[in-house]
Symmetry: C2
Subunit: 341 residues, 2 copies
């Protein structure tokens, strides 16, 4: 029981917090990253995968939990991000807690087991992060196969699908082949199935398993990729790209039944601005007229009467979020109308 937990583990476990801080700028979803300093000390020494290498690898902002100072995880996170990154967080939710062995490679050299509670934070603007070596990165630099706004990403058919087919053929057991085919089809929407935008994590994990991302080779202590092509897409430290994939999947799912998109657009916005924001996160283009009808008739927004000029065409009315929807409907989200293009 609880007392058992108290007795069992010694000082070999540490708890960290990390934040996936997402904003939208220039119609692109952005995530705040930090560079791990090249001289990051490594406990235990030895070859630590990519950590401590000459290469600079980006990571998600990570902070400690002060066991005696921080009343809750969320307060700790807000404090930490405010202090070190100079960013004030708005909407915050817990994402997932990662605790696999060796997710921090230093564990192999006697480092402690690192448990990270990860949080998703949505903010309105890309405040220029102060302090640290922090920067805003386009989320799709890390997950390029997730951006379908300009048609199906080319990587999928040129790189991923052939590798997946090889993987399926690489076993003789027809039962295993079937299972692989099914996972493949579900994750990437092949065999006539539709591409499920929300399955971001499943796709990343499949690519990791197939060794198509550099993290895979790195984590088994092997820089060499065995001749396997490595997809475009920027590498991250530790399992942070997995965490980012978890975050994007969560956002995509949530946007449909909670009005979280309004955490990320200005107080007032045109309907096209709102649509572009949703498209940036969902990774698909939406049908304009139907999108407008959905948000207007869904009671999500309310016209302000003011107009935005310089929209590139006819001035558009500025809208604002109608907070009352939360009271009226059980699950108010934007909903994605039929795709276009």
């Amino acid at each position: 029981m609880e007392s058992r937990a108290l007795a069992s583990d010694g000082p070999r476990i540490v708890v960290g917090l990390n934040a996936v801080i997402v904003a939208i700028t220039d119609e692109q979803p952005r995530v705040l990253t930090v560079s791990l300093p090249e001289d990051t000390p490594i406990e235990g020494g030895g070859k630590p995968g990519a950590i401590g290498d000459r290469r600079v690898v980006e990571a998600l902002p990570t902070g400690p939990l002060d066991a005696e100072g921080d009343r809750t995880f969320e307060l700790a996170l807000r404090r930490w991000v405010r202090t070190y990154a100079g960013v004030e967080l708005g909407y915050v939710e817990q994402l997932y807690t990662f605790g696999d062995r060796f997710r921090d490679p230093r564990e192999r050299q006697g480092g402690p087991r690192v448990v990270s509670a990860s949080y998703l934070a949505l903010i309105r603007e890309t405040q220029p992060a102060s302090g640290l070596a922090a920067r805003w990165r386009n989320v799709y630099q890390f997950l390029p196969w997730e951006d379908g706004r300009n048609g199906r990403p080319r990587v999928i058919d040129t790189e991923i699908v052939p590798e997946l087919r090889d993987w399926i053929a690489a076993t003789d057991d027809p039962g295993v082949q079937e299972l692989r085919k099914e996972r493949f089809a579900i994750a990437f929407g092949l065999e006539g199935l539709q591409w499920d935008r929300d399955r971001v994590l499943e796709r990343y994990e499949l690519l990791y398993e197939l060794g198509l991302v550099p993290e895979a080779a790195r984590d088994i202590g092997d820089e060499d990729l065995g001749g396997k092509s490595v997809l475009g897409g920027r590498e991250m430290a530790f399992d942070h790209r997995r965490i980012l994939a978890t975050a994007l999947g969560r956002i995509r799912a949530k946007i449909k039944y909670r009005p979280v998109i309004f955490e990320m657009v200005p107080e007032t916005f045109t309907l096209l601005q709102l649509q572009r924001a949703v498209e940036a996160l969902a990774g698909v283009r939406l049908h304009k007229q139907n999108f407008r009808r959905l948000v207007e008739r869904g009671g999500l927004v309310e016209g302000t009467g003011k107009l935005a000029t310089h929209t590139g065409g006819r001035p558009a009315e500025l809208f604002e979020f109608r907070r009352e929807v939360i009271l009226e409907r059980p699950a108010p989200g934007v909903g994605l109308p039929g795709l276009k293009r």
Copy 2:
């Protein structure tokens, strides 16, 4: 960064895992609980709230993470539950990680900060739990206001609403009053709003905040409830009732877009059996004909041709889950058709 986390905290944090194991028997949702032994040792001594009192308090099964033996949290959980409770888990997902200060009251007497990663597990049958002082409890014994299958639970109008009204009136600031009114209305579906079945956690937290559950008084080290009535509903140790509320909310939401209900019914079942299972979790009655159409036309089930006799009426066809839906539809769930009665 990650290295910061490594350096900061000493042995003052421990990580535990706890499991909300849910099954359905006799049309009731059941959760596996254990009794905390009366002689549970308390680190630091002193008055520990309910822990160590004469009173026996039930808790969720909790196990340690073996930092060097367990490869992942989930494997640790499965191992632990198999070994100590004799239950083999099927579907498992991470729920939430709780880490508030003093969630384990022993922390006040110098005990360590206890971080618990909680998991939701759904299983098919109530295997009689072996070992431990484990038992299956009706979930609604802990959260009686959540069962609306026989009409609106009486506690709501007799106990909860009056207390909530007092709470709203207890401040003079009209702004605060508005905020309270809104939280109240959202959580309990008053003021003409509808009751949102999924907001289980919000309801529990409101009741906790108002001191209507014994845990509230206990956690501030005060056995006396200050004359406040305490609702029906069985107490749990630590914040385990909050965890249970989180779990029920998650199940209710998930059932609508993932076919998780099939983890909890026998391999073959009649449509009424399936409906009763969904009703047990959702806490509402459903419209029979429409429920059937939804699951059949949604491609979720497939007739086996066999019949179940002794149903109480005409023999019913036995159905089974159509695994292929997962391939066909992005978010296959049961969906709750209009209520009846």
